[in-house]
Amino acid sequence: MKPKIYILVVEDEPEVLDSIVRDIAEFEEYFEIEMADTAEEAEQIIQEILDNEHMIGLILCDHVLPGKNGVDLLIEMQKSEHTKPTKKVLITGQAGLEETVKAVNEANLKHYIAKPWEKKELVNITRTLLTDFVIESVKDPLKYMQVLDAQRLAEEIRTGRHITDS
């Protein structure tokens, strides 16, 4: 089975969770979107995904969660080999400077989106980071050309030499 790429959204307030998922709906056709309302549930979902030999391309994570907080989840993901390549984004209004710095330094945080967010910003950063992920981790970028940054993917095909004449 060809590996699928997942987008994981972690947010404890249901309306906010739905709102995020609605905003990134255009990526649904090519990426699987999974939701969790706690870090612990997220970890379970991550384990299932990895057990099925799929990949997690992007995680959009709130910081203040019941139980483990978002930054700690991201740091653990960074430490684990299979979730290290995942692009990590915080969507929150409540992470202080210290925690944000920790996320950047220890979790390789790719982007910080402050609540309330603009749909355009969320969609753009999702597209950019998923494009980064596909270029780094996927051998066949062709099928994502329509939903991701086609220019960059085409350039990657040109220089990466994955596809050749046959």
């Binding site: 062709l142 220089t159 050749t164």
Partner: protein, 462 residues
Amino acid sequence: MEKTKAVGLILGIIGFIIPLMIQIPGLSLAGHLAMSIFILAAIFWMFETIPIYSTSILVIFLEVILLSAEGLISHTDASYSPVAYTQFVATLADPIIILFLGGFVLADAAVKYNFDRNMSRILLKPFGTDPKYIILGLMAVTAVLSAFMSNTATTAMMITVIIPILAKTDISDPARISIALCIPFAANIGGVATPIGTPPNAVVIAALNQQGVGIEFGSWMLYAMPLAIVMLIVAWYLLLKLHPPATSTLNLDLKGEWMKNRKAYTLYIVFALTVILWISESLHGIRSSIVALFPVAVLTLTNTFEKEDIRKLPWEVLWLIAGGISLGIAMKETGLADWVIGSIAWDQMGYLLLLSLFGVVAIVLSNFLSNTVTASLMIPLGISLATSGIIEGPASILIIGLVIALSTSFAMVLPISTPPNAIAVSTGVVKTKDMIVAGSLIGAVAMILIILMTRFYWPYIL
């Protein structure tokens, strides 16, 4: 394993066993084994049970252990004198492979130093702002580049050029379809113009060389380039008719800069020199395979092309070609090719009809199969047709070779027909049905032209 691959595996194994269970009169044991290998290879290639380059290596491996003098089977049949295993293995370094290696090094170096992109920028400038002529320009540039680089790499690069153009056009403008389709078509068409344009050319030229028929670089261009030029114009005209642009101006606005460091200049000079040496082979007499060593040597010794670049070369394409060449050797030496040709009553068919049949089968098959594989499967049979005298005339081997090579390149009907087609469809701008319509028309016209050339052009210049 996926269903189709599993089916291919089973059919392939059955296909391999069948010739071993029957006794065909007039065919040596080696011929039966060659038939087993041929059927296994054809099925594995068709179903892609294993990667196609893998099948090619499997072919060489099976030939060595089953057909060679040093293999597991001792051939006592008088009609087959066992081929030394080195002959099968040596296909991996056939002069044609070296020629293609030189081409690949030049092409990859061109990409590394953005030579391809900068060339396309310059070549596109004179074409102005009228969408009709911009499309012509895109096609001309793509074709010229893909004559020297792989069709796929050229397509990938030109897609990066057209994406900003597409972003500026209105979504309902049919010009978008013309623009997106013209790239893979032009890339495939341009690939026929030179020996290094596309791998099927390699398999055919190598097979002809085995028969003692050599083709110079410039000679191939003389035979094939007129077809490429005419078909380019035909395809352009056709695309404009099918999808006429709605707007009257398109601003290309191409950005980029020429790299100006020592290594880039080295590349520019070596590239130009190599092409000149190749094209002028009839003047200086140095074989194109030998010329091909020049860029490989100079670019690597000046560190313009480094170890990582060498590792990224498409070695699997060279394996693919080598497998095809070795299959041809096996079929010829064991007498299988002659036997296949001998078993069919060709005398009922006229010369032109026979050539057309080969051409049509080649173009139809390679719409579904890799072009190189189609050429590999058909050229041994085509050559046998010529050597057994069924097709007559001194140039018959050359003509049948050209028919097969050129026909495979005009198979552009489906996204799976060639990688450039797949890349174009992946942009989402082109629907498969647009490609089917345009590709079929172009393929049909090309087929007619090729057959006309066998009668009215090639016999007079060969």
